[in-house]
Amino acid sequence: MNLTLKVWRQKGPQDKGRMVTYRVEDVSPDMSFLEMLDVLNERLILEGDDPIAFDHDCREGICGMCGMVINGVAHGEQVATTTCQLHMRHFEDDAVITIEPWRAAPFPVVKDLVVDRSAFDRIIQAGGFISVPAGSAPDAHSVPVKKVDADAAFDAATCIGCGACVAACPNGSASLFTAAKITHLSLLPQGQPERDSRARAMVEQMDAEGFGGCTNTGECTAVCPKGIPLDTIAQMNRDYLRASK
């Protein structure tokens, strides 16, 4: 298949950036989206051009490194799929595809489609952990955990930190990401001692990073490749209110 790509190119953080159109031919429908870009990049390198910079690593949907807004939708329209797992068979021949980086002030563009998501790490630093120095843990069976709680905690814990939720949210809110971690830890008995301080610190860090507030729009969960559910946000709100009493 043949495609026309409109790609956001930006040399560096200071550059203004612009959309550039490329034509790619003989794309196999079995290629992944990133492989299609690989092919284009090989060509660009040989032409002495700068290849299109994009983040990626595992290419199997688990590291959370990849991510671009494809035709206006974070990670593309295929549901529950990261960009690296998106395959070209979902596009039509001769399609025009627009490719842009995540857009949010706390995610400044580094180059082309690469953005800086370190704000997420700082939200975790604020309290997204349970404090247990190595070697000080009690036997794993000393605290049973209800299966339903363990399963729900797991569902929330599957967030890969890709940032699609922020990219999709009209408010540039990091609520889904933050809520996923708060929910994961506050559903487990091990997470209780730090529950209040964690919720307060993480929510406030999220604000301090410049993310917007959530107005329960639901775009985030719709594009989330791991399907992190919206009720994690309710859990975060609950924990935050509880902690603010």
């Binding site: 595992c58 590291c63 091990q190």
Partner: protein, 642 residues
């Protein structure tokens, strides 16, 4: 005969304490000197890598009060390749009461490693495995649980006891997030300074000791020098030398290869694990291979057509024209034979022209019987997410037509040689996780890499590195050594950028990978290895004459990053082939066609090869140092799965 290498002094001391095996680790812990808590803050440790091994090591060293600087090439420490591990983690908890014990885990691992691992190390690994689970649970790792609220376990990779703890198909992710969160906590506390998007390009060795690293800031291109009292490498495996593997795209050998060039010995480079159940290659553009959990073999049946060149769709091939070759050749274990056996059998039937799918490189993994027996719903419940992943990638529905699978490079048992303290042959350079030559011998059992990485990082290294640091201080760092390392890095970058040839680094990498797969892959022969050893230097030469890297050094330049990694893969590939050539026996992940029994099974040669091959870098070619392996507790025997 051109031997490609020379032989040096054997390695006699691995620093493992003597005495009963159960007491060795206790003994070592007690004999280790302690650092005065007030001094820890002044001790600077560099940890490169934030996977299970590096992340847990940096977090723990930070908790202990050391001053830690950590690096990774991704944009966040949470994205290290460990995140991709699916199946689970072993631990000798014996929560099931099914006869497991530290001793049994030790025994299974030594045997599974085809008697090429050290007993002392493996025993310690089994001991510490128990603490890992406690630690992870306390951190909030949401392992699978049973209705009673206790942890669930399963049996994995043919083990006869149920000792594998898991978090659905995302065990690596959950364990890594636990370590990552502990690390972020230390970053917030100020004990660890994190540098993301930084690639380590050299080790600074001053006065014979590792005293720092040279790194490149991948965003600005700045070359930075970081000095320390000790350096820890936790940079993962080098399976990407094959270009196509189940590893993440960024996995590289640069860090350990540079250390090797500076004097760290490289052990057993030829031991690579090939995983039998991966999604086959679909075309030339393919950038990586995806692993399908091994658990699929519990219910799926593996087959190929009886006739070579049979291109009918699976549904049109009648039962009697199908060859369920694993069940036929290994009636006792059937589809559940260990990874190396299953992989080689698949290769053999494909070599006979009976492979299926594009290029004839694939075999069927068929669930039709399972669906008939258990019902579609039960199959969906068990494997639904894997089936979905398969369909997403191939566009084929595995409920209505059999999956196609093929073996792929998955893990590298080789790595930098380390002693019992995890210290390499450069004093002050410690190596943990997949980057070291690990405790898996010639073959790693399922669910044991996660265990080893975390054992190293949470429990072993923090003790042993303290001993090294307590014996310091080691004086000022020699400026000349720093300048020399930095200049070497600069000049390599400049050279790559100045060639301005006509082929991309990726295209060379692809060619090198294919060559390695064909000649140093699942099956090696003297002939194939010699061919590889002829071809690799030629290709490397061509690479350095004709590679094209666009862009400049002082910006984010992914073409440059790749070219640098490919350059190191060339050198490593050569050493792998030399190691494979010299080891004329078959063992574990290394199958030499010349060394097989009458049934075509791997034949070990314990008389001549019961040693670790540790390679020293030499300008005139590598120098082999042998570390003899002795088995006091587990009797050496041939593995048999018939």
């Amino acid at each position: 005969m051109n031997k490609h290498y020379t032989e040096g002094e054997p390695i006699r001391d691995t620093k493992a304490p003597a005495g009963p095996i159960e007491e060795r680790w206790e003994k070592r812990k007690f004999s280790a000197k302690l650092v005065n808590p007030a001094n820890k803050r002044k001790m600077h440790v560099i940890v490169v890598g934030t996977g299970l091994a590096g992340g847990s090591a940096a977090a723990t060293l930070g908790e202990l009060g050391y001053n830690v600087t950590s690096f990774c090439y991704q944009d966040s420490p949470r994205r290290a390749h460990s995140i991709a591990a699916q199946g689970g983690i072993n631990a000798a908890k014996n929560y099931r009461g099914d006869g497991d014990s530290i001793y049994r885990l030790f025994y299974d691992t030594v045997k599974g490693g085809d008697f090429r691992a050290r007993e002392s190390n493996v025993y310690r690994l089994a001991q510490v495995s128990v603490n890992i689970i406690d630690q992870a649970v306390a951190q909030g790792v949401p392992f699978a649980r049973e209705y009673g609220g206790l942890l669930d376990t399963r049996s994995f990779g043919g083990a006869q006891v149920s000792r594998t703890f898991y978090a659905r198909g995302q065990t690596g992710q959950q364990l890594l997030l636990g370590a990552y969160q502990a690390l972020e906590r230390q970053i917030a506390a100020g004990t660890v300074k994190m540098n993301t998007r930084h690639e380590m390009l050299d080790v600074i060795v001053s006065d014979g000791r590792a005293r720092g690293v040279i790194v490149r800031d991948m965003v600005t291109g700045e070359i930075e020098r970081h000095l320390a009292d000790a350096v820890v490498l936790a940079t993962g495996g080098y399976g990407n030398v094959f270009f196509l593997s189940t590893n993440a795209k960024g996995c590289n050998t640069t860090a350990i290869w540079r250390a090797h060039r500076r004097g760290a010995m490289f052990a057993n480079p030829c031991y690579t694990q090939i995983h039998p159940t991966c999604i086959p290659v679909s075309g030339d553009y393919q950038s990586k291979l995806t692993l399908m959990s091994e658990s699929l073999r519990n219910d799926g049946r593996v087959w190929v057509p009886v006739k070579a060149g049979d291109t009918r769709p699976a549904s049109e091939i009648p039962e009697e024209e199908r060859d369920y070759y694993l069940e036929r050749i290994y009636p006792a274990f059937g589809n559940l034979v260990p990874r190396d056996i299953a992989s080689r059998a698949a290769k053999n039937v494909c070599d006979e022209g009976r492979g299926v799918g594009p290029g004839g490189l694939g075999v069927y993994l068929d669930f039709a019987d399972a669906i008939r027996r258990l019902g579609r719903e039960a199959v969906e419940k068990k494997y639904g997410n894997l089936f979905e992943m398969y369909e997403r990638i191939t566009g084929e529905d595995p409920y209505s037509q059999p999956m196609r699978i093929y073996p792929a490079v998955h893990y590298t048992m080789g790595g930098l040689w380390v002693d019992y303290d995890l210290q390499s042959t450069i004093p002050g350079l410690f190596v943990v996780g997949e980057a070291n030559f690990s405790d898996h011998g010639a073959n790693r059992l399922g669910a044991s890499a996660l265990m080893q990485g975390l054992a190293d990082g949470y429990f072993v290294l923090p003790t042993t590195i303290g001993d090294y640091l307590a014996n310091g201080p080691y004086g000022e760092v020699d400026d000349g050594a720093v300048a020399e390392a930095e200049a070497a890095v600069q000049s390599k970058i400049e050279r790559l950028l100045s060639v301005n040839g006509t082929r991309t680094a990726d295209s060379y990498h692809r060619e090198l990978g294919k060559l390695m797969w064909d000649y140093c892959g699942m099956e090696r022969t003297e002939e194939s290895l010699r061919k590889a050893l002829e071809r690799i230097p030629e290709l490397r030469e061509e690479f350095w004459q004709n590679v094209k890297v666009s862009g400049t050094a002082d910006e984010l330049n992914q073409a440059l990053e790749r070219a640098g990694r490919v350059a190191d893969f060339f050198d490593l590939a050569e050493l792998m082939c030399i190691d494979a050539l010299h080891r004329t026996e078959s063992c574990g992940g290394h199958f030499r066609a010349e060394s097989q029994d009458a049934d075509g099974e791997a034949l070990r040669d314990d008389e001549n090869f019961a040693y670790v091959a540790a390679w020293e870098y030499g300008e005139q070619g590598p120098v082999l140092h042998k570390e003899a392996l002795e088995y006091e507790y587990v009797k050496m025997s041939q593995r048999s799965y018939k």
